[in-house]
């Protein structure tokens, strides 16, 4: 009996131990489970956070994209408006000019309006193209030495007119010493300064706009500051200014016009030039726009201008807007230009100056005409179909053409200009063609009226007179011979006679005979004897007429 109880007790102990073990394991496992659970919950929470974060990031990006898209849509709408508005005036006033027979005053005003709007449209389009170049990384900057007096003179010339239009004073204050030359892109630099000044003028109702120039020799930094007494701006408005497509206030866009691009482009240009733009605006005192332009730190210090007299170029500039003085010139010009409107326009300019004009519509025609006739000057459009201006110029120079060739082109970067000069061009005119510069360039290469022509060779003239007389004397015999050959249908003989006449008549002033002989020659070559007969009649008639004329 006791053994059984003992055995049962032992069993019980074992069971208890096992249970204890099991409970212990359970506890452990439960703890482990709880831990894992916590970890999973933490992970889930983190994932939640990440998701939230990502979502808000995506939302922000989407908002930004939408904002950019909206801004771009607004920009496109704005640009469309900026382009169509001046066009409306241009087309409208032009139509008005056609219809209205009212007094002279109206007509002049209409014309001025067309010109003004045309110029503004040009600015808008230039801005848009600049923007496109920047966005597609195609903006190339020059590095040219610009003399300080020239820079000042150019800015003054550009800005004074605009200031005067709004009865404002424009003052340039150079603080000496200043560098005598700046190595930069003059076009872009002037664009920035012009933008500053235009804005200042636009937003100032009365008073003056001032451009100050300062130079810090230690740091080698050039500082341009334009001050006005116009709109005050808040910090927020100032910050928005340099974003594209946004003016300080939408209401200002409507009131004052403009592309909203000017300052954005200015900042882009400034960056590329290694400079910096900053704005300062004080309540009631107006705004100051500054451009800091560093000069290269390596190399010698730039030469400085220290006296007022050094800026004399600038001081003497005539700021008034003068009308173009048309020079009086003398000669024959070949105009190679494929645009019919440009053909008409430039022909008109040339004829006004007393020049005779022949027009070629492509490079091929240009080469053929330049070789055949005597021109004093060739105006060569670079972009032409069939054969472009560079190819035509190269070919002409290779063939021994020595008269001046001036390129007409929209591309006037240094590299392009060099390419044209290498091909053999003597000069380059930028499109759109400025009338003043056009006349200046032409006058450089063509003799003025009243000048003695280059070939004043009386010995040669006498020689020619003698030979011409000789030719005339022999002409009746030639005509008779041609008639005889024709009557006998002696084609070989006729060919020989025609060939001779073709090659000589023109040299003695009987160009028409040469042309007609050439036609007969062509028909003889094609054995179209019927046509030959008819053309010969014409030739013989011309011959008779020529002989009757006393030279």
């Amino acid at each position: 009996m006791k053994a059984l109880v003992d055995a049962l007790d032992r069993r019980l102990d074992i069971e208890r131990a096992r249970r204890g073990e099991a409970e212990r394991l359970l506890r452990l496992k439960t703890e482990e489970l709880l831990r894992k659970n916590e970890q999973l919950e933490a992970l889930a929470a983190r994932q939640e956070d990440l998701i939230k974060q990502r979502t808000s990031e995506l939302q922000a990006a989407r908002d930004e994209a939408i904002a950019a898209s909206t801004a771009k849509s607004a920009f496109l709408a704005n640009m469309s408006h900026e382009i169509r508005t001046p066009l409306t005036s241009i087309i409208g006033f032009a139509e008005l000019l056609l219809e209205h027979e009212s007094g002279t005053v109206d007509r002049l005003d209409s014309v001025r309006t067309i010109i003004r709007n045309g110029r503004h449209l040009l600015e808008v389009i230039s801005d848009i193209l600049d923007l496109a170049k920047i966005e597609t990384q195609h903006l190339d900057l020059e590095q040219i030495d610009v003399p300080m007096p020239v820079l000042l003179r150019d800015i003054s010339a550009l800005v004074s007119g605009r200031a005067a239009e709004r009865s404002l004073a424009f003052v340039v204050q150079p603080h000496l010493p200043l560098p005598s030359t700046l190595c930069t892109d003059p076009v872009r630099l002037k664009q920035i300064l012009l933008n500053f000044c235009s804005n200042a003028i636009k937003f100032t109702r009365h008073g003056s706009v001032t451009l100050e120039l300062r130079y810090a020799p230690q740091e080698r930094v050039m500082m341009f500051t334009v001050s006005d007494a116009g709109l005050d701006m808040t910090a927020e408005q100032m910050a928005r200014l340099f974003q594209p497509f946004v003016q300080a206030d939408l209401s200002t866009t409507r009131k004052f016009g403009g592309t909203g691009l000017g300052l954005y482009l200015s900042r882009q240009f400034a960056d590329r030039l290694g400079g910096r733009i900053s704005v300062d605006s004080e309540a009631g005192k107006g705004s100051r726009f500054s451009l800091e332009l560093p000069l290269p730190l390596d190399g010698a210090a730039p030469e400085l201008l220290t006296m007022e007299g050094d800026l004399i170029d600038y001081a003497r500039a005539d700021f008034a807007i003068t009308s173009t003085a048309v020079p009086e010139l003398h000669g024959r010009v070949l105009l190679a230009e494929d645009g019919p409107d440009n053909q008409r326009l430039l022909s008109a300019y040339l004829k006004q100056a007393g020049l005779s004009v022949t027009v070629a519509s492509d490079g091929r025609e240009a080469v053929e005409l330049a070789m055949k006739r005597d021109f004093d000057l060739v105006l060569m459009d670079i972009q032409m179909p069939v054969m472009d201006g560079v190819a035509a110029t190269t070919m002409l120079r290779a063939a021994g053409f020595a008269q001046p060739i001036v390129a007409l082109t929209a591309n006037v970067m240094k590299a392009d200009v060099q390419r044209y000069r290498d091909a053999g061009c003597n000069g380059v005119l930028a499109k759109p063609i400025d009338r003043d510069q056009f006349y200046q360039m032409i006058a450089t290469h063509v003799a003025g009226a009243g000048c003695v022509p280059a070939l004043d060779d009386s010995g040669y003239q006498q020689e020619m007179a003698a030979l011409t007389a000789q030719f005339r004397a022999g002409l009746p015999a030639q005509i008779d011979a041609i008639r005889a050959a024709l009557r006998h249908s002696d084609w070989p003989a006729l060919k020989s006679l025609i060939h001779t006449l073709k090659g000589t008549a023109g040299s003695y002033g009987y160009g028409r005979l040469t042309d007609l002989a050439a036609e007969v020659d062509a028909e003889l070559a094609a054995a179209r004897h019927g046509r030959v007969a008819i053309l010969c009649e014409g030739l013989l008639l011309e011959g008779h007429t020529a002989l009757k004329k006393v030279s």
């Binding site: 063939a399 021994g400 070939l455 060779d457 020689e463 023109g506 040299s507």
Partner: protein, 145 residues
């Protein structure tokens, strides 16, 4: 003691360039020859047709050749090719009553020094002579009068 011999000829400081004019038309040859003599210090010989032109070229060895393209039996282009094969650097000016782009281009490919269109223009003749003078440093070629 130096003696001055009055009868001694003055040393020629200027060289006279040899020119060959190839053209089948008498009047054309005559005119060009006279113009050349008028403008430059040259000795001009004439060849009347393409067939004999190359032989004449070899015999005369001109500094400048004026070569008419439109000749009946053998064109100036063919003569040019012969000349180029024998004398690649020789200065040749092509002459033609017509100046189609193709013709000009093909002669330029054959390395001509110039291309002149008939009727002759004094200015164009002067231009090609000037070009020759510049390229060969012949500063005394052109007459000043």
């Amino acid at each position: 003691m130096s003696t001055l011999d009055d009868t001694a000829p003055v040393a020629a400081e200027t060289t006279v360039r040899k020119v060959l004019v190839v053209d089948d038309t008498f009047a054309s040859r005559q005119l060009l020859t006279r113009m050349l003599h008028q403008f430059a210090r040259v000795d001009v010989r004439e060849a009347r047709d393409g067939l004999t032109a190359f032989d004449q070229f070899c015999a005369i060895q001109p500094d400048i050749t004026f070569l008419d393209i439109d000749m009946p039996h053998k064109s100036g282009i063919d003569v040019l090719k012969e000349i180029r094969a024998a004398a690649p650097q020789s200065y040749v000016v092509m002459v033609s009553a017509a100046a189609s782009l193709e013709t000009v281009q093909s002669t330029l490919e054959l390395n001509v020094g110039g291309f002149v269109v008939k009727p002759y223009s004094a200015r164009r003749i002067l231009d090609v002579l000037t070009k020759y003078a510049r390229e060969t440093g012949a500063s005394d070629l052109l007459r000043e009068d």
